[in-house]
Symmetry: C2
Subunit: 389 residues, 2 copies
């Protein structure tokens, strides 16, 4: 057996005590916020048949998904790379409610490749989904909840970026653009590749052509919406989308450090159907939380439902927080003394960490992360005093 058994694969990490405890508290805090807001926890499995997980038809997601063989069925299983499709399956197929269903989740997702240079292949994804409501109220509720969660975790200076995939979809539909051209236009817009875009729009009717050429410039502050009203055609879908963006931006302004509009943002176009949003932070190149409306995702499980939700990676968010000193415990000698044992039980029931010093070795005490100790004052009386080192 080689000596390098302790080596981990690239972009795979151990989370050590100080960080693990804090991430666990972050998880508990966000889940409690979601619970109090009426979101019910579900825990879909880490492994499913590959077809159930790759419902978005996104080849990017396919490449990022680990596959393995099920010895029991001989079929291909996949490790989830995203929890959202699983929760949509639970809503559509298992719960089968008719009205609004609010669900949340927290668990690992795995990627074959890291999403960015600073990222990991094992994320601790936490999120919330709201099904059965297509109005702006649910977009607002979900985005508010995301901003509340970030604030609760102590993430400051959040920039909220808003987009709307219905804009591009309306242009493509109105102009009866072929699926091939739609994909090419989509790729050019995603890369903000304006010269490719100029080539692709040749031959389209002037209103559509001008609108598509304008999209890459339509990003910035809330004033972008006004500019968009001037340059985009006044189709009902376009106006509705711009109105939605305006309302959300106005209502969420007090909760975010600032709000940006990006009308060429088509992240998850194959998946999303309405407003999309992402939170950014100055210390992170990638979005720190994101989501959007994806009204059709339940269809492949037999029931299309209006849906919107957000997700974030608690490990990534943890990296943005300032370091925190680990709380220290109380050292107790290892003695068969019933008064001591009773005091240890009492202190722990009050929330104190009490560490029994099994070795009683003065030189190794500092490893036990204690700043106080239990000392016998008199018969049956044990007191907590500062640890003299």
């Amino acid at each position: 057996m080689s000596n390098s058994n302790w080596l981990l694969p690239e972009y795979i990490q151990d989370i050590l005590p100080q960080d693990a405890a804090r991430i666990e508290r972050m998880r508990a805090d966000v889940l409690e916020l979601l619970r109090l807001s009426g979101y019910q926890l579900v825990a879909p499995p880490l492994l499913e048949y590959v077809e159930s997980l790759l419902i978005s038809g996104s080849s990017d997601m396919d490449l990022r998904t680990f596959k393995l063989v099920d010895q029991l069925s001989g079929r291909t299983l996949a490790l989830r790379a995203d929890t959202t499709p699983q929760v949509a399956r639970i809503d559509a197929h298992l719960l089968n409610r008719q009205g609004v269903t609010r669900l949340c989740y927290a668990g690992s997702v795995l990627h074959t490749q890291p999403a960015g240079l600073m990222r990991t292949r094992e994320l601790l994804q936490i999120g919330a989904e709201l099904y059965g409501h297509s109005g702006l109220e649910s977009d607002l509720e979900v985005q508010r909840l995301m901003l509340q969660a970030l604030a609760l975790l102590g993430i400051e200076g959040v920039h909220l970026d808003l987009g709307h995939v219905a804009l591009f979809r309306a242009l493509a539909t109105r102009a009866e653009i072929s699926p091939t051209l739609e994909t090419e236009l989509f790729n050019a817009l995603q890369c903000k590749d304006e010269s490719a875009l100029r080539g692709l729009v040749q031959g389209l009717q002037p209103a559509i052509k001008n609108a598509l050429l304008a999209l890459p410039q339509l990003y910035g502050g809330i004033e972008v919406i006004k500019r968009a009203r001037a340059v985009l055609p006044d189709y009902a879908e376009v106006t509705a989308a711009l109105n939605q963006l305006e309302q959300v931006a106005m209502q969420l302004q007090p909760m975010a450090h600032d709000i940006g509009i990006d009308l060429a943002e088509l992240r998850g176009y194959h998946y999303h159907s309405g407003m999309v949003f992402a939170a950014y932070h100055v210390d992170s190149h990638d979005a720190i939380a994101l989501g959007g409306r994806y009204d059709d995702v339940g269809k492949s499980f037999g029931r299309a439902r209006a849906a919107t939700g957000f997700s974030m990676d608690l490990r990534q968010l943890h990296g943005l927080l300032p370091p925190q000193k680990q709380p220290m415990g109380i050292l107790a000698p290892h003695l068969d003394d019933s008064a001591l044992q009773a005091e240890i039980v009492r202190l722990r029931s009050l929330g104190h960490v009490v560490v029994v010093d099994l070795l009683g070795d003065q030189l190794l005490r500092n490893e036990l992360n204690c700043d106080r100790e239990l000392v016998k004052q008199s018969k049956n009386i044990w007191k907590v005093v500062a640890l003299h080192s």
Copy 2:
């Protein structure tokens, strides 16, 4: 795309709202018990190189471990089937402390095949490990902690089964038994196959032969230890092991419903080195929590350390608890009313679940799991009243 996208692989489950919320509380409660007892949380990865996870040399574990290919390195990765070797790696290689190190963990582990007919392939393993102490005090601490955790979760009538792999090991070492014969004897003892055992012990010296033939009968209550003293040779290792079993049994008797001794129990023989223990419950065919001493497991990470610990599957334990009614929430109308919004914030801060009724559809209300509602009493005054359905 087929209509059966919602089908899950065999022995793979979704955990739905009521169960998921309770399992999350169980997780939080056990982690808090461990934290207060000085066990620091670590979170090793779900995926590692296969050699790092299969350090026990157990072919059973090898067969139960999912393998997949790492696209980044071309090497074989494995999904952890047990967290213990990972925590041992963290102790041996990363923390590198000299004294006692107490660590705990909670996370999914995956098996290619279920361990029993009623079991799952995705377990939520939670456990604690104590490194750097080889005395009986740490065996006692870890077993006490396991029993405390089970009691905290509300599991009643726990039967604690004790064994000691040093007994068989001492007999094999003293008789200079070949590794091949040792393995055959081990298999015969594990299956309690007495006729195979009788064949294998031919040719061994009488004291060893009689001791090996006696082991399968040495199970029952604490009186087994007395019988063992009479029939097993009085080698120092044998006497020490029997003394340890006796002390632990006496000390833990008040915490368990009953205690059994099984001297042919060699679970994890390749892995364990001293006392082993398992908790059983009348409603479960398999052990509901188990552990033992495994002093050498750190060796393959460059540093052998005394070690003992326990683990259990929270999903399995959850199945043993009586059903619990889900706590119900308070329904709030969806209104742009600042007094209402303030009252919702206040109620949630007090720990109440408040569900906003986005659709306002009387017929769908019962899906929202509320038994009270917020009703306007007068200007700016909202009151919680029983929900009239």
